[in-house]
Symmetry: C2
Subunit: 440 residues, 2 copies
């Protein structure tokens, strides 16, 4: 058997502690599968004295993760610190530059510095693995950068945030409001005290930026993402979607178009009979459409200490099975110096179906006016439904729900602006894009 | 750039031709991703003069695939001949023994000779890749043997045969009989003229045998599989299942139990709200439950020339990216000499829910008798429903549908035998096992 693979872990939160415990508990089993032992020889965290349920006394302790990355006697640096800045950034750069392999679960770091880090890894002939950074335990990174090699991807999309999916699933299942759901999610630990990062779609955007690069061989462009969160999704939207045979999911979507690559994160209506519509609760999913392979979907746990630790363990095992310095799998699938610049397709030219829900005054001519404004903008309708809660009472607000055939976003925006300017719309028009699992 | 990776392809049917065409068409792109060119330098097939839509004139032609494997100047031997016997078996052995990597899509060969071939590959320090052999384009093999490294698998199950899934989906969707569906599937090319191998579950069993070995680190035991095909599933079963909130799928299931590992292929009722119930038509799916990761599901194209060629291309790209002779990923996940003997758990001790549909004479006491026989065998019922098609006509056969709570297969068999011996059952009792996507 070869000499042991020495691991340094920086960051001993839920994931780091689960990883250290698992590596220790099944050390013999892993050695059998990998042909060499995997040993945690160095660790770093903020508080040395915190109880973590795992004995780390045999590992060298570092207060400073960058010092660990620079000085510890290790083959692999595992970064579980988090954040797109130092010390995570400095530690990963330092480890790669001195010829250590790196495994990280840090999506924010990769979304911002992924191309730079991939380049440093390739220049130094070491592996940069980050399976846990996208969709937690789902092996989306490996599948995209290894299994799909040679395919041209048309679209990749996914449910990439468990908090949002839990909230949307629970709103539908229990018929309760967004605010009630969020409070429950916070109580259960599925949502942070400040939930903005999740429900605003920022977390999904980080993961999507990485997937886009893997899918299309482009540089990571995390700031060039159209972003809409789920905070304005109401129980009325969910009910209207269900009536029409759809479910609402927060999707991250990247798609090749004639004018560039779309990257967008927004609430999306998907047909209730599609596989992705059945992805419930905190479960995540990644779907990809590739020209040779066809359509592939992966679903599983997108977060959680154990699932994330499993992905990190798989990344470490890949390194243990490979020859040192022999790495030819580029971190982002395409070698860093061959990545194409990202060309952004504008949302104005996005093409798809739209769901539009309007609350309008109950007066003659409103329905006809709405239909006329849509027609003037060249939008053909799949359905238009007018509803009032109580037919016995007149002069109450009426709800009008429109579903368009595939059309241009610019046209929808113009039509909605024209309708709004007529003065009979109460509140704001709700517009939700429809995503079909299969692009026609 | 390193020297080109030389490929020999034996077998130029749909998959082989699609593979050769794709490798030629995107040669530059693959070279960029893999760091070396991939060149088809030798080919073999039965008929040299058949038109295949791809120019193979630059490749050396061999009439005999074993001769190609033995003599051609190649780094990788791609076996697309099929069959568990010679020449496929001899050719793969020959190639591995002389130090060539092998990529194969041949499930029958692996189900029968997989352990032997894995051993030869490991002894010679070469790679044996077979992603296309299980569930076509779905990267189940890579995920099982690489991403899940270190996990203990509890259960793996899947929809592994597109023909069966197409038939079951179409029966439900169009309300037509098994025979009508099979005829349509044959017309569309989704089923063979002799469909026994598919609809009898044998093809699923081959794939399951490979998955079991990958999941549990055991020797392949393709003959130790409980097997039931879909030929006795009627439209009445599908309707009764739908009424109860289930869909019928042909699943291959391998599961660790107290008495060994169950391997079984049979029609299965899955909850209609589960992800796997939404896997329609010729699409395949593989689901796995692992102790650290949790539950993961992959779905995608299980067959077809292009999807299969994509999986083979991914296997070749993995080899192109690796150092020659540096392979430490064992073909079956666990090194061949460490594979545990397969210990079979008997179907009699299988535990789960059961759906039982009986056609009975319409006379007093039948319902009570059925309930009594179930109770005597310690079986508790989730539901029992008696139906007649036409309530105005008496003395017609009645249908009784029972759904049991989790119980032992032996008890169900005993109860059904007791009920049948009462004399009021018309025809044969239909018994279908229920599979829950999450094991409680």
């Amino acid at each position: 058997m070869d000499s042991a693979l020495k691991i340094g872990i920086a960051g001993l939160g839920t994931v780091g502690a689960a990883l250290a415990a698992t590596l220790a508990e099944r050390a013999d089993y892993l050695a059998e599968l990998c042909g060499r032992r995997i040993e945690v020889t160095a660790v770093s965290a903020r508080d040395r004295n915190r109880r973590r349920g795992v004995d780390l006394s045999a590992s060298e302790w570092f207060d400073d993760p960058v010092k660990l990355a620079r000085e510890a006697e290790i083959d692999v640096f595992v970064e579980l610190i988090g954040g797109d800045d130092d010390p995570a950034h400095a530690a990963v750069r330092t480890a790669l530059a001195r010829g250590c392999h790196v495994v990280t679960a840090n999506k924010a770091l990769l979304a911002r510095h992924g191309v730079e880090l991939a380049r440093i890894a390739e220049e130094n002939g070491v592996i940069l693995n980050f399976e846990a950074a996208v969709a937690g335990g789902i092996p989306a990174v490996k599948v995209m950068r290894e299994s799909l090699t040679g395919n041209r991807v048309r679209r990749v999309f996914g449910i990439l945030n468990g908090t949002c999916n839990y909230i949307l699933t629970t709103m539908e299942r229990e018929g309760i409001s967004f605010d009630e759901c969020l409070a429950e999610a916070q109580r259960l630990g599925y949502a942070e005290a400040d939930p903005t990062f999740d429900i605003g779609g920022h977390d999904t955007a980080h993961k999507l930026a990485i997937l886009t690069s893997l899918a299309f061989g482009t540089e990571i462009a995390a700031d060039d993402i159209y972003l809409e969160g789920i905070e304005n999704i109401s129980i009325e939207d969910i009910r209207a979607a269900a009536d029409l045979g759809y479910r609402i999911k927060l999707l991250g979507v990247a798609q090749r178009t004639d004018t560039g690559i779309e990257q967008r994160v927004h609430p999306t209506m998907v047909p209730v009979s599609s596989e992705i519509a059945q992805v419930d609760g905190v479960t995540n999913a990644v779907a990809v459409e590739a020209d040779v392979l066809g359509e592939l979907m992966l679903s599983g746990p997108g977060a959680g200490g154990e699932a994330t630790a499993s992905a990190v363990m798989g990344d470490i095992a890949d390194i243990a099975k490979s020859r040192p310095g022999a790495q030819r799998v580029p971190a982002l699938g395409t070698p860093a110096d061959r990545l194409a610049p990202y060309e952004r397709a504008r949302m104005r030219s996005h093409e798809g179906g739209y769901f539009i829900r309007l609350s309008v005054e109950d007066k003659a001519g409103v329905f006809a006016s709405i239909a006329a404004r849509m027609a003037e903008n060249g939008i053909s309708l799949e359905s238009i439904v007018q509803r009032s809660r109580d037919h016995t009472v007149r002069a109450r607000p009426q709800t009008v729900v429109l579903v368009t055939h595939a059309t241009m976003e610019a046209a929808v925006r113009k039509a909605v602006a024209a309708i709004t300017s007529e003065g009979y719309v109460l509140g704001t028009a709700q517009v939700i894009r429809i995503e079909r699992p299969i692009v026609d």
